[in-house]
């Protein structure tokens, strides 16, 4: 695996929220979350992830499992 994927914590976290909160199958009528304030969250998150300690803590779960799998060998 090269360092190409997930090398930037800010990008990764924002990309994750872009997906998890806004994309994916919606089971209409069962969804309890409707994210109207995503922009607001992002502004705060940028502050949050600028802390090195937080960024390091957040990177671990993503890199540990996402990059160690068989798919990680492709790039």
């Amino acid at each position: 695996m090269t360092g190409r994927a997930f090398e930037d914590d800010d990008v990764t976290l924002l990309e994750l929220l872009d997906r998890a909160l806004e994309k994916g199958v919606v089971l209409w009528g069962d969804v309890t979350v409707s994210v109207a304030d995503v922009d607001l969250i992002y502004v705060g998150l940028k502050v949050l992830v600028s802390s090195v300690e937080t960024a390091t803590r957040m990177r671990q779960p993503l890199t540990a499992s996402t990059l160690s799998g068989p798919l990680a060998g492709h790039s």
């Binding site: 994309k23 199958v25 979350v33 492709h74």
Partner: protein, 292 residues
Amino acid sequence: MERDEDRPGAGARNGGGSQGGGEASYVYAVVEVRDVPIPEMLPCAGVIGAPVYAVASQGLAAIVSPVAPEVFSAEALEAKLHELTWVAANAMAHQEVLAWLLTRRYTIAPVRFGTLCSDPDHVRTVLTRHAQHFVQTLGRVEGATEWGLKLSCDGHAVAEWAKSRNVQAGRMTGGVVGMSEGAAYFAHKQLEQRVRKETAHLLGAHARDLHTRLSSVARAAVTHPVPAGGVRRDGPTVLLHAAYLVADASVEAFHAAVCTKPGPGAPPGITCETTGPWPPYNFVNTVLEELG
């Protein structure tokens, strides 16, 4: 705030202790399990540290966690979505579960963060009722993963470059020697505008060219809107924000295409960031009709 203590991975795996009565099912994904069996309990921690189970029906399985419904009620979530550590930790936990499935090559349709069913029976009903839809969706994304791409340029570098082009262009057109102050000012402004236009054109052409190349390698592609208003002078400007569904066999070709350099004469400071492999969030983005 005590929920933050329940961060996934904090070792709290006992959330299933009171399974059954009064617990809702938080849904992560729908998975194809006809060919690849799935364990009844997955060895990972889910949102708010809850255990993760597979609820199977007709060759499909929904991946779920038992959670107290009040944690993910509309009101609770509205408040929690402003708690950044909570959002980040639980979105990560959601992703962790999907990553576990992804690395084991399950074909998955990720479900949006914060989706609840009232109980496992409700989950089975959803699977049965929408089986055909899920089979179609899963067929589209089988053997592929999603890759995100952000092409951006550094406004400062582009501005400096444009300025040097202004000077060059100024020389080529004979400069402002002999002009009145007003005319020189006008000529300068005109030149600046021309260079800005050319710059935007070059950047746009590169973004389009890259997207065309990547789309030809990918099985499917989705572009997200980028901010209008041209290149910002003070920081990065996103030129292309897209997601690509890439078949496993094409991942290398995809990365080779990502490395395409901007053509000669293009401004400096262009960067291209990819993230992945992601579950195919952008390619299962459908809303199922309400259960009758």
